[in-house]
């Protein structure tokens, strides 16, 4: 360390003298209204833990969501939040990031919100590769509206909208994401292994770029038995580990013995893994740190003063304004 950097650190210390310490409860707001036993709780606990461990300032953190059970998550986070409109969580999050690149942005969306009505936004968000974490709460059913088939519902699933069972194969969010240009981070995890869930979301948070995390989630209310075979048989979970991916603890490997060493830079293998379902692969499938972020490419160095914003808006409005004088004339 040179003299100059030592001195720099002294100054940094002075500035950081007031270091905010938070507890997990500081990030909690209200009582979740999810059904008891819902996997959303596990995701909420994991992101709260991440916020505490990474010392994320609540006023610098934003959770954006669309519509669905998953999308209630911002209500329970004591940070900034935006409960958006159906399928449009990503455009809102992109707007936030573009205007305020200094904020940490998380997106919580569900299998209907993302893979059905929001599919177009999902594809382009991957391509834009803006630095944020997207959590796809995939419970394979529309829970909030009481059990309708979603794009990821398994073939033959009987629901209110498919009384004779679904006719189509489920859409695979992983293979879709891995097929989009500029994809930079894809992971899959299950809600019932909290340690892995936390680690995966943490890895997504540390990745600079658009981090897509599909969380396979149980819906105890409408599909109570669907995931039981996987939940109760550790042999049906495949842990992906690598020195550049997740490093799994011995505690975990004692229960989950099926392991594969997978290099997250290998997209071809990632696509193969993504296509498999049984055992469920969990871990980081793909990561590329070198994909540029859209907010960096389009970074505007101008200071966002109120004048700048007003003038910009006025100029836009003027294009469509019908001036009363002109009309009268």
């Amino acid at each position: 360390m040179t003299a100059a950097t030592e001195q720099a650190s002294v100054n940094e210390c002075l500035l950081k003298l007031y270091d905010e310490q938070h507890e997990i409860e500081d990030y909690q707001k209200g009582v979740p209204r999810w059904c008891s036993g819902c996997g959303d709780n596990a995701i909420l606990a994991a992101v709260q833990r991440l916020c505490r461990d990474e010392k994320l300032a609540p006023e610098k953190t934003v959770f954006v969501s669309g519509i669905g059970c998953s999308s209630r998550l911002p209500h329970y986070m004591n940070t900034y939040g935006f409960h958006g409109i159906h399928g449009r969580a990503l455009p809102v999050a992109e707007g936030v990031k573009l205007a305020r690149p200094d904020l940490t942005v998380f997106v919580n969306t569900g299998d209907g919100d993302c893979c059905s009505i929001g599919a177009a936004h999902w594809i382009h968000a991957v391509r834009y590769n803006m630095n944020m974490v997207m959590m796809l709460h995939d419970n394979q059913i529309y829970g909030l509206t009481k059990m309708q088939a979603s794009p990821t519902s398994p073939l033959g699933l009987k629901s209110n909208t498919t009384p004779r069972g679904t006719y189509l194969d489920a859409l695979n969010p992983l293979t879709v994401t891995l097929g989009i240009s500029n994809v930079s981070f894809v992971a899959q995890v299950v809600d019932w292994i909290p340690e892995l869930l936390y680690q995966t979301i943490a890895a997504a948070y540390h990745h600079k770029g658009f981090s897509f995390v599909r969380i396979v989630q149980r819906c105890p209310e409408w599909l109570p038995k669907l995931m039981d075979p996987w939940l109760h048989d550790p042999e049906r979970v495949l842990l992906l580990h690598h020195e550049n991916g997740l490093r799994v603890s011995t505690d975990l490997t004692r229960t989950y013995r099926k392991l594969e060493e997978h290099d997250p830079s290998d997209i071809n293998r990632a696509r193969e893994i993504a296509s498999s379902w049984d055992p469920i692969p969990v871990g980081i499938l793909y990561r590329d740190e070198n994909v540029p972020c859209y907010e960096d490419l389009r970074h505007d160095t101008r200071l966002r003063t109120s004048d700048l914003i007003r003038n910009g808006l006025e100029a836009e409005f003027d294009k469509f304004t019908v001036w009363p004088e002109t009309v009268n004339a």
Partner: protein
């Protein structure tokens, strides 16, 4: 012949010359210089163009490269013509600068081009195309005494302009944030919700549709007003005033009054500005905290009260303009030398240029004594010894090649010394300063040295001598082609030593004696240095006279000693830079000897037992299973679903990671434990045995608990 040798030995040992019939020594020059006299006919990196308003890395440009780049950027059909014409204009520019000195780039380029138009009309068009491609406004200059200061000042200016840009962006950001806090109070407070303000916000078109008094009443009563504390508002107002009133940078990014020609004035100016600097830097530090909402009066007030009390640190001072001191090495006395070292040692953000015109000046201590580059060497050695000073020693001819290092030094967060040898000492006849400077580098009299404390913690990272020619050798060796007595072409390898360098200087003429004949007693300088002590041998160096005839010039002992000293200094530089390191070489020799004397290792028979692969097995640590009599939860597998905590929050609680554990098994019933186990989605609750044998319905509960025990 014997008499000749005696005379030559006498000259070598005493400097006494035997006859006056020798060619006038002042007319000689090193043989390797035979081809170089009129540099205007050659194409090389000079003259330099100092571009105005360019970013640091583009401030210094070489005319030759600009012409090449412009020609290469042109269409293929024009490329050759532009290159040819560009080179002709270049030659005219070199002649112009040699005759008239530096000037405005545009004026010099166009006037030289217009002179050539009389010879070839198309040149005018080529000159214009090239000029448009340069897109550079600035000055053009050749190597002379004033060049180093102009180059360093230009580079310093560009670095300061970058700093100013960052500073102005930072202050604009902070002012925006601070004013935003005040604005937020204004809008969120009562004033922002007054009927007048609401009316002005709506505008005139629809004003009639609103009852602003009522609107104001509703808004004021529905949301509490946000107000800043008086101390915070005062503090923010003061910060704004201090930052807006700063006098270190102008809005256009200039820093005025930071260039000096001596240390005393610079130090005085620095001390006068000190209080102002402390005030501004303190304001910036507080503003950062305020902007982030992190200023805590209880903690920070005391700290900032004493801000700068113990002197300011370089990382903070680095935000303000650096002081540039351009001194003239020839005019520096011992007191100024000491002051320069003192200033550098104080760790202030001073960038000092020591320009030396003469590295061959005679010693003031002893008559006839030679001490090559003594003055500049003292300052450079002392500065490197301070360990945190960036040092660049470079001859003027290498200044352009070392521009990146120059910029690193100017951007370095600390003091920096630039020692530059201009080559313009007035004693080298018609040799241009560029050639003299280049010769000083070549002969190791003034090697290029970079010492960058920010590059790492050891000599290997900090010291860089790679800019010198043939860094592994004592001297650079060149092939020299000539025609021998039988008119046959011949060639020889000639090293360029300090004895060649001093041959350029007329004050050293008395140390040379040009021999008419060749004798076996003569030995080249480099060999003489290798084979010391000399016995009946006289060292010489190859020279040419005005007639371009190759001769041998004997040198006296004093010059040989000086060459030896230069070589010793070069050796120590080499060692510090990791070349021929004596410690390493000794160690290597010792290791070699040991390896040779050690018995040969046994040769394993082919197909011997294979080396077993080492496999580190994970130790199987089995956690102590809690007794099945006590209820327990596999906490690390808990998915935080609230199922159990909803059953009885006294029995089931969350830990720091929001995962459930049994907080108090006695705070509830066995029924609750069993129900929680049944309800747990991931099956991690184990209810154990009932603690109260009198609890009703135990038999049924025990049966239900069976799967979870």
């Amino acid at each position: 012949m014997q008499i000749d040798l005696q005379n030559q030995l006498a000259f070598f040992l005493t400097g006494r010359r035997s006859s006056d019939s020798e060619p006038r020594p002042s007319a000689i020059r090193p043989a390797l210089f035979a081809r170089y006299r009129d540099l205007t006919e050659l194409r090389y990196d000079f003259p330099l163009v100092i571009a105005h308003g360019a970013p640091p890395e583009k401030t210094l440009r070489s005319l030759s490269r600009m012409v090449d780049d412009a020609a290469l950027a042109a269409d293929e059909t024009d490329r050759l013509r532009l290159a040819r014409h560009g080179q002709r204009i270049e030659r005219a520019v070199r002649k112009h600068l040699a005759a008239k000195g530096p000037g405005d780039f545009a004026t010099v380029w166009h006037s030289c081009a217009s002179e050539l138009v009389t010879e070839d009309a198309v040149i005018g068009d080529s000159a214009m195309t090239l000029w448009n491609s340069f897109a550079t406004d600035g000055d053009i200059l050749d190597a002379d005494a004033a060049m180093p200061a102009r180059v360093v000042k230009a580079a310093w200016n560009s670095v300061q302009a970058e700093k100013a840009k960052q500073f102005n962006a930072r202050t604009a950001r902070l002012l925006h944030a601070l004013k935003g806090i005040l604005l937020a109070e204004d809008i969120g407070g009562g004033a922002g919700r007054s009927p007048e303000r609401l009316r002005s916000a709506v505008g005139s078109s629809f004003a009639g549709a609103f009852d602003f008094n009522e609107l104001s009443r509703i808004l004021v009563s529905s949301k509490p007003a946000t107000a800043l504390s008086d101390s915070r508002r005062d503090r923010i107002n003061q910060l704004i005033a201090t930052i807006e009133g700063q006098k270190f940078y102008t809005e256009s990014g200039e820093s005025i009054g930071f260039v000096f020609d001596n240390c005393a004035d610079a130090v005085r100016s620095h001390n006068e500005r000190r209080a102002e600097a402390v005030k501004l830097l303190r304001a910036l530090a507080i503003a950062e905290l305020e902007a982030a909402g992190n200023y805590r009066e209880k903690t920070h007030d005391v700290l900032f009260e004493n801000y700068g009390h113990n002197g300011l640190e370089l990382s903070e001072l680095g935000q303000l303009p650096d002081y540039l001191i351009c001194t003239d090495g020839g005019a520096i006395d011992a007191a100024e030398t000491a002051r320069i070292v003192e200033v550098l040692a104080a760790g202030l953000p001073f960038k000092i240029l020591v320009r030396t015109d003469d590295v061959l000046e005679p010693s003031v201590v002893a008559e006839g004594h030679v001490a090559l580059g003594l003055r500049s060497r003292q300052i450079v050695d002392a500065s490197i010894g301070l360990t945190d000073v960036f040092v660049l020693q470079a001859a003027a001819s290498r200044l352009f090649a070392n521009r990146a290092r120059l910029l690193s030094g100017l951007s370095y967060d600390g003091p920096a010394l630039f020692s530059v040898f201009s080559g313009a000492n007035g004693h080298t006849g018609d040799f241009s300063p560029y050639l003299v400077a280049a010769a000083a580098v070549e002969s190791r009299v003034f090697p290029t040295i970079t010492y960058d404390p920010s590059a790492g913690g050891d000599w290997a990272s900090r010291l860089d001598i790679s800019d010198n020619p043939s860094t592994d050798d004592d001297w650079p060796v060149h092939r020299f082609a000539f025609e021998d007595a039988d008119l046959q072409s011949n060639s020889e390898s000639l090293p360029f030593t300090p004895a060649d360098f001093t041959a350029l200087d007329d004050r050293f003429a008395r140390h040379y004696s040009v021999a008419d004949d060749i004798s076996e007693a003569m030995i080249p300088v480099d060999e003489a240095l290798r084979s010391a002590p000399l016995r009946d041998r006289v060292p010489y160096t190859a020279v040419v006279g005005e007639d371009l005839k190759l001769r041998r010039a004997l040198i006296d002992n004093r010059l040989l000693r000086e060459a030896e000293r230069c070589r010793a200094m070069w050796h120590s530089l080499q060692e510090l830079a990791g070349i021929h390191n004596s410690h390493a070489e000794r160690l290597l020799a010792a290791e070699r000897k040991r390896a040779e004397s050690a018995p040969a290792p046994d040769q394993s028979p082919v197909g011997g037992a294979p080396v077993p692969e080492i496999v580190t097995a994970e130790p199987e640590t089995v956690a102590a299973e809690p007794s099945s009599d006590d209820p327990y939860i596999e906490t690390s597998r808990c998915t935080s679903c609230n199922e159990c905590t909803n059953v009885n929050p006294k029995v089931f609680a969350y830990n720091d990671n929001k995962q459930a554990y049994i907080a108090d098994a006695d705070a509830g019933t066995y029924r609750q434990l069993v129900e929680a186990a049944e309800g747990c989605q991931v099956g991690i609750i184990h209810p154990g045995k009932p603690r109260n044998p009198k609890e009703p319905g135990l038999d049924d509960l025990l049966a239900r608990a069976q799967p979870f025990l």
